[in-house]
Amino acid sequence: MLKLRIIPTLLFNNLKLVKGISFNSWRTVGSIIQSVRLYNLRKVDELILLDISATNQNNKIDLELVNEVASECFMPLTFGGGIKTIQDISNLLKAGADKICINTEATKNLDLVKEACEIFGSQCIDVSIDYKKNKNNEIEIYSNSGKIKTNLVFEDYIKKIENIGAGEIILTSIDRDGTMKGYDFETISYVSRVINLPVIASGGAGEFDDIYNLVKNSEISGLAAASIYHFTDKTPLDLKKFLISKNIPIRL
């Protein structure tokens, strides 16, 4: 049986590993290599590495870093941040990323995603969506690490991505990110049920019982988290053991 995936996220900003709250108040956390080595120990299923400065600062993609992390990282590695062209993707896969994740560029040009899927295969092309809910509880999609509100209509956008056939969708609630108050159950469970692509939940992972509730009542394929692993004593292995005790298929 296919297992639910536990996926820590590492965010970096130029020189350092960071974590924020609702995409703000960025705090420098430990060293990247240290984090990767720890996650190796904890039998995580995959790792997501995001360069949050790339798009906004128009930086070159840091292939050296990807190479360094990939050489330390025994599990599948997804890289995101500043991907704009087919060449970017090719370079990243060569540097050691197993999957890449497109965010801002996809909001402007889904054809890139389509072309990438045709060339590289959909299995290594993820689309990441960052969103907030406005006061009418409508979902608004943001780009550029949460700085620019797009005019995209959420339901249309996810359907388009599904039709193109990307590998999976990473869905991040900006409101909940870094709060450790729980994933956005409503939105994430909804998307996981209406879309045929694997959906990874991101933003707000906190209490294990909450997480279990999301897993039990949705069809998500993976759980991404960062703050909970940086700032509390909960480790990915703890989460795995907890979910196994609740009969969720998890790899140990």
Binding site: A70, K94, F120, G121, C124
Partner: protein, 209 residues
């Protein structure tokens, strides 16, 4: 033959993550090298075709790089042990049906490659860790326990005509073939280079073939 003496040719179709397989092989102290042209096959003790990409694109790259014939010759005539990973296994087929195209494969193991049937709201691609159930003994799985999780990421599967080549199956909707072995030809649908300890063991076993 000790692993150290091996010279493993890795075919690069320029569309995948070559780095992972190189790193995994270096971890087990063998000598992987990039297979650039047909001459590379002369010195190879083993050949690996890793794969992330689409069937038609993969085949066209093999042809474009003039590797098609030398590869077939090395496998069929010279009997060099060959391991196809994911797309690399699928390219062994007679035909692949991807991107609405029907493309001819290497036809080294008769059978077709087709999309996984989505049943009961299953997601595609099949992505993540899943159990590999060994149905037949094979050197590839020596010392690897049955039903261990390996890492999969694909939307298509290979269905060989001759069922005696099937070494393992995996459950996703229906049962599909996750490992084949026919003489010196091996194919795995999962990614051993990303499957941690069990994947490394499998690669080691392949290098002993």
């Amino acid at each position: 033959m000790t692993i150290l003496n091996n010279k493993v040719a890795i075919i690069d179709l320029e569309i995948g993550n070559i780095g992972s397989i190189f790193r995994a092989l270096k971890k087990i102290d063998c000598n992987p090298f990039l297979c650039e042209n047909k001459n590379s096959f002369f010195t190879a003790s083993h050949i690996i075709l890793p794969g992330v990409g689409s069937f038609d694109y993969g085949m066209s790259k093999l042809i474009e790089k003039k590797l098609y014939e030398p590869l077939v010759e090395s496998i069929e005539k010279n009997k060099i042990p060959f391991l196809g990973i994911c797309l690399g296994m699928q390219l062994l087929a007679t035909k692949g049906f991807e991107n609405d195209n029907e493309t001819n494969g290497l036809n080294l193991v008769p059978g077709n490659v087709d999309k996984i049937k989505i049943k009961n709201k299953l997601k595609l691609p099949h992505m993540g860790w899943n159990e590999v159930s060994q149905v037949k003994k094979s050197q590839l799985f020596e010392n690897i326990e049955n039903d261990k999780d390996f890492y999969f990421v694909h939307s298509y599967t290979f269905d060989p005509e001759d069922k005696s080549v099937v070494v393992s199956q995996t459950d996703y909707g229906d049962q599909f073939v996750s490992t084949i072995a026919k003489d010196n030809i091996y194919g795995v649908q999962f990614h051993p280079e990303k499957s941690l300890d069990n994947g490394i063991s499998l690669l080691k076993n392949f290098l002993k073939c």
